[in-house]
């Protein structure tokens, strides 16, 4: 048995890691919808979901159950093959793109098989990521075309035009970072940003601020989010490319959208914000207690909030959750081994969630672009600026070399 494990570890270890990652990502996706609804509700001075579970925390679960048990009607005269394939393509590519992202600095050996925090550590990981996003257009375009509905078709056409246009700016905006790092591997791009241990001063965002702005705008357009959510502009196109989809197939588009938001946030973190590196200088070792310092007050607050919650279920559940959080926070202080191990993942998650929050914040703030504004902004402003950024960066690097 043991011999079998060591012989096939190259196959078994990635499969286990994929299962864990998919589970985590789907859970985060589900709770991202909860966070989004809550944040937007509070921006608009509403309560948001608050009926299912304490603070509406079981709402994602209820939504999932609803998606599974809903009827899944198929419109007449659809192109059956493309209609079925489209949601699968979209979700598969969205989940696959997470495979090349390194989430932390550690390397560990399982059954004698060396691997990192992340599924595949390939040395052209950035190119692989762009290859997968390049294929992501097909899901949306096919869904729009196959549905046999003019709203869907228009949504699909708009979406493919938008994704083609902004993909150029997206790819060009990271060339500056690639020139600085001299490598396609996401892991070495992060390692290069460690610099000489001065924390956030050596992150790529400072020399590449224009590149980062271009990247973030193009990334929002690639993920079809506000203010670039023209493919599903509900006031004009009902629901765009997924108008004719219901039940689990609709949920697949939904999950894919949230997953690509996570992927893009991870990419922005890795390329421009030092990935899992701490923003503080290496010599400030006391900042290692930051996870505990944040977690213990939060846990105590959850307990305090739970005791006086309006219904019995909340009064029972919330204090338990709060106690667990407080104990984890205290445990990290008591066991420095664990505390050191989670530092990288803590910073990575903190940065990714900041980006996700900005995504949601923008959705609660900005109006939608008009179609011609979208196209002229992409081609006449974003693309020239990212090309200029590449030229200036290369000239500066060449200057420093001589």
């Amino acid at each position: 048995m043991n011999e079998f494990l060591t012989h096939y570890a190259f196959l078994i270890v990635p499969i286990i890691k994929i299962a864990i990652l998919v589970f985590i990502v789907l859970t985060v996706d589900a709770y991202l919808t909860w966070i989004e609804r809550k944040v937007i509700a509070h921006i608009q001075a509403r309560w948001g979901p608050h009926r299912v579970g304490p603070h509406g925390l079981l709402q994602p679960l209820a939504d999932g159950v609803k998606f599974i048990f809903k009827e899944d009607p198929m419109p007449a005269h659809v192109d059956k093959v493309a209609y079925f394939l489209a949601p699968f393509i979209t979700l598969m590519l969205a989940l696959t793109s997470l495979a090349v992202i390194p989430f932390g600095p550690q390397h560990f050996a399982v059954f004698g098989y060396e691997s990192g925090v992340g599924i595949a550590d390939v040395n052209i990981s950035l190119l692989v990521l762009f290859a997968i996003t390049a294929l992501a257009v097909y899901g949306v375009a096919l869904a729009g075309w196959a549905s046999n509905s003019k709203y869907s078709l228009l949504g699909g056409l708009r979406s493919s035009a938008q994704m083609i246009s902004y993909e150029l700016a997206l790819t060009l905006s990271v060339v500056g970072v690639l020139l600085i790092a001299g490598d396609f591997s996401l892991r070495s791009i992060v390692d290069q940003q460690a610099g000489s241990g001065h924390g956030l001063l050596s992150w790529n965002v400072f020399p590449q601020i224009i590149g980062f702005i271009c990247f973030f705008i193009a990334a929002i357009a690639e993920t079809n989010r506000v203010p670039f959510d023209l493919p599903e502009a509900e006031s004009e196109l009902v629901a765009g490319f997924h108008t004719e989809y219901a039940s689990m197939k609709f949920a697949m588009f939904f999950i894919a959208e949230y997953t690509s938001m996570i992927t893009v946030s991870c990419l922005a973190t890795i390329m421009f914000f030092g990935g899992w590196l701490s923003p503080f200088p290496d010599s400030w070792t006391f900042t290692h207690y930051l996870p505990s310092v944040l977690m213990i007050p939060f846990g105590l607050w959850v307990i305090f909030d739970g005791i006086r919650y309006e219904n019995l279920f909340g009064r029972l559940v919330l204090p338990v959750v709060g106690t667990v959080l407080t104990l984890i926070g205290a445990g990290l202080i008591v066991f420095p081994v664990f505390n050191d191990a989670i530092q990288g993942i803590f910073w990575f998650m903190a940065k990714v969630f900041t980006f996700l929050f900005v995504y949601i914040w923008m959705r609660g703030t900005l109006p939608r672009f008009r179609y011609d504004q979208l196209m002229s902004f992409g081609w006449k402003f974003l693309l020239p600026v990212s090309i200029a950024n590449v030229v200036v960066t290369s000239v500066v690097i060449l200057w420093r070399m001589h």
């Binding site: 493309a82 190119l127 390049a134 294929l135 699909g156 493919s160 083609i164």
Partner: protein, 163 residues
């Protein structure tokens, strides 16, 4: 049979099946989808040969950009299903003999060069490739990009002629 050989046959079968489906399908979108399958399978074959950069670029450029334009145009024109035509005389008298001849030539070449195929696969790094491209072959490379630029300009001139 070794693992790379198994993967090769699987990818080759997918590529050939996609190519056959490309011709047999009657709807333009289905044909375009089959072509994407061929492109992605070819990228897998490049990866098997250790050309990782070429594999990624194959998907980004052919699988992504070019085929998206194909699908976009088919969707924009709303092209419907094609009628099946009768078997053309040209295909019968010129096409089939040509196909047989080409297949024979390629198989003969493969059979005679079986020793070459046994070479060990080495991963060519992107750095090596770019050094070759921008140092040794810089003139052909730049000339090719100039050629593409001329083609783009030509397309713009043709599109603007009406005004």
């Amino acid at each position: 049979m070794s693992a790379p050989l198994v993967i090769f046959f699987v990818l080759a079968a997918i590529a050939v099946a996609g190519a056959v489906s490309l011709i047999v399908q009657r709807h333009p979108i289905h044909s375009a989808l089959s072509l994407i399958v061929v492109m992605v399978a070819l990228a897998g074959l490049y990866l098997l040969m250790g050309a990782e950069f070429v594999a990624a670029v194959q998907i980004i450029v052919y699988g992504g950009a070019i085929m998206v334009l194909f699908i976009f145009v088919i969707m924009l024109l709303n092209a419907g299903e094609e009628e099946r035509t009768n078997f053309s005389k040209l295909a019968l008298y010129a096409g089939i003999p040509m196909a047989v001849a080409v297949t024979g030539l390629i198989s003969a070449a493969i059979v005679n060069s079986s020793a070459v195929a046994a070479q060990p696969v080495t991963l060519t790094s992107t750095r090596t490739l770019s050094t070759l491209l921008f140092k040794e072959f810089v003139y052909p490379f730049e000339l090719t990009s100039f050629l593409i630029l001329v083609a783009i300009l030509g397309a713009i001139v043709l599109a603007q002629r009406e005004n």
